[in-house]
Assembly symmetry: C2
Homo-oligomer: 324 residues x 2
């Protein structure tokens, strides 16, 4: 178990702080406003986005404390359509760098994970509103007779819209409108790594990780459902959708070094750390910041937007009285 030196271990807390940069510092800064839909906070808006919202008073009511989607919109369909109009205008006008990666694939926006969706929006746009995103990640591993536990990683294609050419988990995908969690895992395992059905019987749910990252593109409060998949030693993943450049099988120690390198996608790090903790490779004995790291793998995203003391005034008027 004394697998790693002290030195790479102290780098782990740095990494946990990096993928939680917004949770640890941005969140309590005063320059973001709550984004409210149907009386409930569903996100956060940064000043650069706020400025642009003022040009759409029929769609967004900007208040000193929060900004809300016009409560006159009656339902999911109307909210989604009005939001899409604005997003497409921004995209076509070259407003935000993230919208250059427009996907034609939508994420649901909900007040809580298990409540009815309030609207949907293109997945490239959710970071502009700090909408909670959900994904599924599969850690593929092999019990190698000589090298011990070894983990499959993928190198993302250099043409990917986000994190091109970075190292990543074997299989991962966002939870899009219309797909279940386990279903997304199975779908992505086929598309990204061509894993045959006979091997997927061993796919095992193992929890979830939650963190809150920020980049120049926007805000990323992400929850990833994590699955473990033990693979036979002779199986080699093979990409089916052009989104992966290559796969590589690494013994635990080398895998950890790769994860700690700047070539690894920051927002995929939590899944590997959680795997190495659950499997006994990162322990309270070899990592001095063990508890803090475990806590930073599970930040309270499900309650972060539900401050009971806040009440949002819902005025179902047409054009709002905006104030910045």
């Amino acid at each position: 178990m004394a697998l790693m030196d002290t030195e790479p271990m102290s780098r782990l807390l740095k990494l946990a702080k990096k993928f939680n940069c917004f949770y640890l510092s941005g969140l309590h800064a005063s320059d973001c406003r709550a984004f409210v839909v149907d009386g409930q906070q569903v996100g956060l808006v940064r000043p650069n986005v706020m400025k642009e919202l003022l040009s759409f008073p029929q769609v967004f009511q900007v208040q000193p404390e929060y900004v809300q989607l016009n409560p006159a919109f009656r339902d999911y369909a109307e909210r989604s359509a009005k939001m899409e109009e604005v997003l497409k205008e921004w995209r076509d006008g070259g407003k935000f760098v993230t919208l250059r990666g427009w996907r034609e694939e939508c994420y649901e926006v909900r007040a809580h994970f298990n409540t009815q969706p309030l609207l949907k929006m293109d997945r490239s746009a959710t970071c502009l509103f700090g909408i909670r995103n959900y994904g599924v990640d599969i850690t593929g591993y092999v019990m190698d007779r000589e090298k011990g536990l070894s983990i499959w990683l993928q190198k993302r294609s250099p043409t990917k819209q986000t994190w091109p050419g970075y190292w990543d988990n074997m299989v991962g995908g966002g939870l899009s409108v219309g797909y279940g969690i386990h279903e997304t895992g199975i779908k992505e395992a086929g598309e990204e790594a061509s894993i045959p059905t006979k091997h997927l019987g061993k796919l095992k749910s193992a929890g979830c990780v939650s963190f809150f990252f920020e980049s120049e593109r926007g805000l990323f409060p992400n929850t990833e459902f994590v699955y473990d998949l033990e693979l036979p030693p002779d199986f080699v993943p093979c990409n089916g959708d052009g989104e992966v450049e290559t796969f590589e099988l690494l013994p635990v120690k080398e895998c950890l070094e790769r994860v700690l390198s700047p070539e690894f996608k920051t927002t995929s790090v939590p899944v590997v750390l959680d795997f190495l903790i659950r499997h006994g490779y990162i322990t309270a004995e070899n990592e001095p910041n063990f508890i803090k790291i475990v806590e930073l793998l599970h930040v309270p995203l499900q309650t972060i937007y539900s401050q009971p003391q806040r009440k949002y005034k819902i005025e179902a008027n047409g054009e709002a009285n905006n104030s910045l």
Copy 2:
């Protein structure tokens, strides 16, 4: 995987809220004050304890916003001795119910888990000051050919000072002064369940759970280091220290029912839930509140007392100017 009905699953969130009753409601109530040692918050004090502290102005400085151990005490030894004097006076005077369970076994008090201890106090007293406690729990399990994954539980002795006669995890113990984490696990496995060394090679670190419970005895911000131990089907644990009434091996489904019953020790529930999540028995597909439950198994105890905006005035005078 579709192991459980919907109904017992919705009971899981209730349970997660129960072992986090203080985190979810008490924490933001205004009637507790920060407990400060050497300029750093290490705990919280409830009004019933606060009242008694006023009788010891040489030991505690009571301020409107916080209460601090007299900063004139120079070091670990002096702080520990002064604290012990007060605690023994309370114990002998029958002041607090928790002190009836005086243990002659101390816990360290630290600002962070991996920083130098500031003082020690009897483990029965830490809940009076909301001091973070650390423990080690071992989930013993068997892969039964017929019944599938089965988990060993213990029934606590009816003479235990806390939670007498309740069901509990196979092995668990607090991290006392002078013992390491893994070491505590090994020690307790021997004392509580007479597990022979040959079986302990399979002991596997698997993370930690953090939660914040409150009872009539006091405040419990607890972190438990969790270990998994696969045992051979023919092994039967046997108590060696008189603290256990009996052990029982239960298939997963029955184990979950036991955990959901009022006979299970509330503060041991998180360890079982974490085990069942990591092993794929509680999943995002069969538990609608999955993410919320995972987040409630890892509440941010390591940062809860480190509010950077707070500054505690350290006055190294003898008798303090108390104000309530």
